[in-house]
């Protein structure tokens, strides 16, 4: 059965050489066809996965940073808004006070003016009345003494009379 393997009876060493050559050739073909591209692809994939994990970690950190920044911005804008409202309140208060003061001053001025006007009117009315009384007195006097009197000549006399009248009246 294994007689051909007995040394000396034609052991086919040639096969060994053939197998070795065949195997080396096969290794080369496998290397070119499959081994190199596939292991490269597997390595690429492993690299990509580890890169993806790293970049995911980075993105997560960035997102966390962003959230923190946003929160800080929100807080600062809130305080800013608070300040604005406070300023507005203060301003409003000031303006209100100013307007009220202005209005009070205006009213005071108006009142004073009105009082002055009234005084003026009264003075005018008094002067008018004095003149009228003077004219009337002269007319009456001229009627009474039946003679022509010069108004101007008598004016001083009448004035002094009326002065005394006014004083009497005032007191």
């Amino acid at each position: 059965m294994l007689s051909h393997l007995v040394i000396g009876s034609g052991l086919y060493f040639g096969d060994s050489i053939f197998y070795v050559v065949c195997f080396l050739l096969l290794m080369w073909i496998v290397k070119v066809l499959a081994w190199k591209p596939v292991t490269k692809m597997m390595q690429d994939r492993a690299d990509k996965i580890s890169n993806d994990i790293d970049s995911a970690e980075n993105s997560r950190n960035e997102a966390a940073d962003l959230v923190q920044k946003r929160q800080a911005a929100l807080a600062s804008s809130r305080s800013e808004a608070q300040t604005i409202v406070n300023d507005a309140k203060t301003n409003g208060q000031q303006q209100r006070e100013q307007i009220v003061t202005q209005a009070q001053t205006d009213a005071q001025t108006l009142k004073q003016n009105a009082q002055k006007d009234i005084e003026q009117e009264r003075q005018d009315a008094l002067v008018n009345a004095r003149n009228d009384v003077a004219d009337l007195s002269i007319e009456i006097a001229s009627k009474i003494i039946q003679r022509e009197l010069k108004a101007d000549d008598q004016k001083a006399l009448i004035d002094s009379y009326i002065e005394g009248l006014g004083k009497q009246h005032e007191s």
């Binding site: 096969d15 197998y19 096969l26 066809l33 499959a34 597997m42």
Partner: protein, 239 residues
């Protein structure tokens, strides 16, 4: 099976066995076809063929990583991968295709059912182990390992190399050869007494064929495992 006359021919003063040459060529073509058709259209997202190939590469790399440190695997990965597919297809070939010439000499069978084939691969592995040892440790440290733990140990070390060579090659040969021989015997039984024996023998033949296919896979695995063990032994300095 080798129980018929062996067809041999002479070339350049060397004797060749026709069956081995033809079978090896068939396996060669099968391996090339396998890696060619599974490695088309490589992509980052693997499809069916690429999945299979990557699984196979991971598998053989896993065998090697069992004994060789990961950073030293390098080219052994390719060796283990090629060895595994070649031996696996060799083991299975004879179970499904067994052709004989009209004079009874087999022409296509498992290449591994011939000790010359298996011992060639065994020798190749041990030569690779020696080469790896020398290239990593240098001549002095490499051959110094044979003198450890003490100088007389060199006898056992050299004897061990020889037995490694024989057991590695003959283990796979024995399993595949006996598997094919038993298939032949069962088939002879099937055709010996007509239809009655045929009914008994055919399921038996199928069962044994299935078992042999399993054994062929196991033997290819064992061969690659032991190869990596022998190589790893040469990569380290013994204490």
């Amino acid at each position: 099976m080798n129980d018929g006359p062996v067809s041999t021919f002479q070339f350049l003063g060397l004797t060749f066995s026709t069956a081995n040459i033809v079978s090896a060529s068939v396996v060669f073509v099968l391996v090339v076809a396998l890696v060619y058709f599974t490695s088309r259209h490589l992509a980052m997202k693997p499809t069916s063929g690429q999945n299979f190939l990557e699984w196979l590469i991971d598998f053989t790399n896993g065998i090697l990583k069992g004994s060789i440190p990961a950073k030293e695997i390098g080219g052994f990965g390719l060796y283990g991968f090629t060895l595994f597919i070649f031996l696996f297809l060799s083991n299975e070939l004879g179970l499904f295709i067994n052709l004989a010439l009209p004079n009874g000499a087999t022409i296509v069978r498992s290449p591994t059912s011939d000790p010359v084939t298996t011992l060639t691969f065994s020798l190749m592995t041990l030569m690779l182990a020696q080469f790896a040892g020398v290239s990593k440790l240098g001549y002095k440290a490499h051959f110094g390992n044979y003198l450890k733990p003490f100088k007389v140990w060199i006898v056992i070390s050299i004897f061990e190399e020889f037995t490694n060579f024989l057991t590695l090659g003959l283990r796979i040969f024995g399993v595949i050869f006996s598997g094919e021989m038993l298939l032949g015997i069962i088939w002879k039984l099937a055709v010996s007494h007509g239809i009655a024996t045929m009914i008994v023998a055919v399921p038996l033949e199928m069962a044994w064929q299935g078992f042999s296919a399993f054994l062929g896979a196991i033997q290819a695995f064992v061969f690659v495992t032991l190869s990596s063990v022998y190589i790893s032994q040469k990569l380290e300095i013994e204490e």
